[in-house]
C-alpha cells in the first residue's frame, strides 16, 4: 500500500506549477475573455514544448507515454490557475479516446497532438455541449451508439455562453459526410471511459481551484483589518476556512485513488471516479461559498479574482456528470446484486 507519488511525479508537478503560476495570471485570463477565441496559440505552443500536450501520448507516437496517474497532479495545477486552454481535456480525454480508437486515426493525430500542432476534442451526449470545438482540428463526437470523427469543415457550431467566461461551449451539428469510426459495444466502452476520464479531470481541477480560493482567502483575511485586528483572527472566520480544509484534504485521496484505478484499468474505476468527482466538487463548492463569505462584499465583485475560480468550480461540478448522476452511479453499485463492499473490497 502506497498512496504517495514518486519523486519524478512530484518534480514534474513542481516545474509545471512554477510555469503555470508565472504565465497564467488572473490578468491574462481576464484578457482572454476579451479575445475572440479566448485561446492563445503562443501559450499552447509553450505547453507543448514542456511536453504537456503529449504527456499521455504513447512514446511510439512522439509522446511521453504517461498515465492518468502521472497527469492527475498536473490537472490540479491547471485548476489552481484556472487554465483556460484545453490541456486537461487533451491529456485526459482526447488522447485516451484516440488511443482507444486506435488504427489509422490514432496514428495520424496523436503525433500532431503531442507536437502541439493539432487539438482534438471529445463531445459526449452526457455533456450536451462540446468544449473548445471552435479551436479543434478534429472532433470525436458521440451520436447514439456510434463515435464519429469530424474535421471542422464537416461541422457547424453554435456558441453557447457559459457562466465561466473562460469556458467556450458549442452545440455541434454534423454534416452527413462524417462517417462513424467506431460503433456498437466498442463505441460504448470508449464513451464510458471518456466520461470517466473527463470526470477525473474535473475532480482534479476542482482540488486545485479549491486550494487557490483557500490560499487567496487566507492571505486576504490576514490583511483585512476590522475592529483593529486582522479578520482572520476571529474564530468565526477561521472556522469557515478550517471547514474547507477538512473537506479538501479528504477529497484528495479519492481523486488520487480514482487516477490510479483509471491508470491501471481497474474494474471499479467508474465507482472510484464518481466518488472522486463528488468529493472534490463538493470541496470546491464549499470553498467558493466560504471564501466569498470571508472576503465580505469584496468577494462579490467582478474586480476581485475570486469569481474566476468560483465560476470554474461551478461549471466543472455540472459537467462530465453532475452530482446527481455520480451519486446515482455510486448508489447503483452499492445496491447491485452480490455487491462486495467489505473487507477485501477497499480497492
Amino acid at each position: 500500500m502506497d498512496f504517495t507519488f514518486t519523486e519524478d511525479q512530484l518534480l514534474f508537478q513542481e516545474s509545471v506549477r512554477d510555469f503555470l503560476r508565472n504565465e497564467v495570471t488572473p490578468e491574462r485570463i481576464r484578457a482572454s475573455w476579451e479575445s475572440d477565441s479566448g485561446r492563445e496559440d503562443a501559450l499552447w505552443a509553450q505547453l507543448a514544448e514542456l511536453g504537456l500536450t503529449g504527456m499521455t501520448v504513447p512514446e511510439s507516437s512522439g509522446g511521453l507515454g504517461m498515465s492518468a496517474l502521472d497527469f492527475v497532479l498536473l490537472a490540479q495545477e491547471c485548476g489552481y490557475v484556472a487554465l483556460p486552454e484545453p490541456l486537461v481535456h487533451t491529456a485526459l480525454v482526447a488522447v485516451p479516446a484516440l488511443c482507444d480508437i486506435g488504427g489509422e486515426l490514432a496514428e495520424q493525430w496523436l503525433p500532431r497532438v503531442a507536437a502541439g500542432e493539432a487539438k482534438v476534442v471529445v463531445g459526449l451526449e452526457q455533456n450536451m455541449l462540446v468544449e473548445d470545438a471552435h479551436v479543434a482540428d478534429l472532433l470525436l463526437l458521440q451520436r447514439g451508439a456510434a463515435l464519429l470523427a469530424a474535421t471542422p469543415d464537416q461541422v457547424s457550431l453554435r456558441h453557447n455562453e457559459s457562466v465561466d467566461p473562460s469556458r467556450k461551449l458549442y452545440a455541434v451539428d454534423i454534416d452527413a459526410a462524417a462517417a462513424p469510426v467506431v460503433e456498437g459495444e466498442q463505441a460504448q466502452r470508449i464513451v464510458a471511459r471518456a466520461l470517466d476520464h473527463g470526470a477525473l479531470g474535473s475532480a482534479a481541477q476542482a482540488l486545485g481551484l479549491a486550494q487557490r480560493m483557500v490560499d487567496m482567502s487566507v492571505q486576504y483575511t490576514a490583511e483585512r483589518q476590522q475592529f483593529g485586528v486582522p479578520i482572520g483572527s476571529f474564530q468565526a472566520v477561521k472556522h469557515h476556512m478550517a471547514n474547507i480544509a477538512v473537506r479538501l484534504e479528504y477529497a484528495r485521496a479519492p481523486v488520487h485513488r480514482a487516477a490510479y484505478a483509471i491508470a491501471h484499468e481497474r474494474a471499479n474505476a467508474a465507482l472510484a471516479v464518481s466518488h472522486a468527482k463528488l468529493a472534490a466538487c463538493e470541496a470546491a463548492n464549499l470553498a467558493a461559498k466560504n471564501c466569498i463569505q470571508v472576503h465580505g462584499a469584496m468577494g462579490y465583485t467582478w474586480e476581485v479574482d475570486l469569481h474566476i475560480f468560483m465560476k470554474k468550480a461551478w461549471a466543472l461540478a455540472n459537467t462530465w456528470g453532475d452530482a446527481g448522476y455520480h451519486k446515482a452511479r455510486v448508489g447503483e453499485r452499492i445496491f447491485a446484486d452480490g455487491a462486495v463492499l467489505g473487507a477485501g473490497a477497499t480497492f
Binding site: 461551449l169 465583485t301 459537467t319
Partner: protein, 399 residues
Amino acid sequence: MKVSFSEEDEHFRTEIAGWLQDNLRGEFEKLRYRGGPGDEHMYPQERQAWEQRLAEGGWTCVGWPQEYGGRACSIEQQVIFFEEYARAGAPGRVGHIGEGLAGPTIIAFGSDEQKAKYLPGIVAGTQLWCQGYSEPGAGSDLANVKTRARFDEARGKWIISGQKVWTSLAHESDYCFLIARTDPDSVAHKGLGFFLVAMDQPGVEVRPIVQITGTSEFNEVFFDEAECDAADIVGAPGDGWKVAMGLLGFERGVSTLGQQMQFQNELDQVVALARENGAAADPVIRQRIAKAHAELKIMRYNAMRMLSGQSGGDGSLQKEALIYKLYWASWHRSLGELAMDVMGPECEILPAAPYELSRLQAMYLFVRADTIYGGTNQIQRNIIAERGLGMPKEPRGNA
C-alpha cells in the same frame, strides 16, 4: 391569538389586487417580476414612473401615519399589501430606501423642518434615497467610519469628505443619508453625526461597482467637500450612532414581508422548473424543496408574530429581530444552490451573450451577497450571542 384576516382586511385585499391589475399593464407590463435584488439595474426610469403611479393611487408609504402622507394601514393590511404586490409580480421598488429607512428615521428623529422638506418627495415617489453607512474600512466594523463632517461657520454649512461603498441605487438617488465623524478626535461609535445630503452637487461622485453577476447595483460614492445645510443633520452632532441604530430596527420591520413574497415567487419558479425538467421525480430534490417551503413558512409566521408583538407592545420585537437576517440570508443562499441543482447540467449555460444570466442563475450569484450585506452571518451570530443571549463580548482589538 387570531391567525386570520378580518372581513375588512379581505376587502382591502380585493382593493389592492384590483388596483394592481388595473395599473400594472401598458407601459408597466414589462416591469413584472423585474428590478428585485440581483436585478436592480433594470428599468430604473420606468420603475420610478411606476413609483409615482403607486403614489397617485395612494399606495406608497402605506404604513406611515396619515399626517405624513401615509395610509396608516394596520400591520395586517401591510401584510396584505406586500402579499398582493408580490403576487402581481409588481417590480422592485426604487423608493424602498426612502420609504423603509430614510422616512421612518426622519419621522422618529427628524425636525419638523426636515419632515416638511423630505417626506412629501418620498410619498410622491419623486425623490429617491440611498444609504451611506459602509466604507472601505468600515464594513463589519461599521463604527470605524472615517468620513468627516466639519461645520463651516462662514458658509453656515456642513462640509463632508470621505468615501462610502456598497451604496445601492446611489446613481439614481436624489439624497443620501449618511453617518460621518463630527468630532475628528473621536473613535468608534462616539462623535458621529447623521446627515441628509443632496447627491446632485459638485462634491459628490458616484462610481458603479461591477458585481460577479456582471451587472452593477452597488456603487462607490466619493464626497469631496460636499455641502450639507446646517438644518440637515438629524439629531445633534454626536448622536449619529444612536440615530443609525434606531434605523436598523426599521430595516427589519414590515418590509421583510415583501421580501418573503419575493422568495415565494422564486421558490415557485424552482418548483415549476423541477416539474418541467423532471427533477421533481428525484426524491432528494423533493425533500429539499419541501424543506425550503417549510422554512419559508417559518419565516412568514415569525415575521407576523414579530410584527404583531410590535403592535401589541409586548416588547419581544428586539430579540426576535436579531435572528431574522441570519435566517433569511442563509435560507436564500440555500435556495440558490437548490435552484442550480434543479437546473442540472444546464445551469452552466447562459441564455445570451454577453454574460446575460437567467433569473435563477442571477439569483444563485446574488444570494452570495445576502449573507454579507447588512451585517454578515458571522456578525449576526455575534449579535445573537452577545445581545440576545447576553454572552461575553468577543475581544475586538483596540479600534
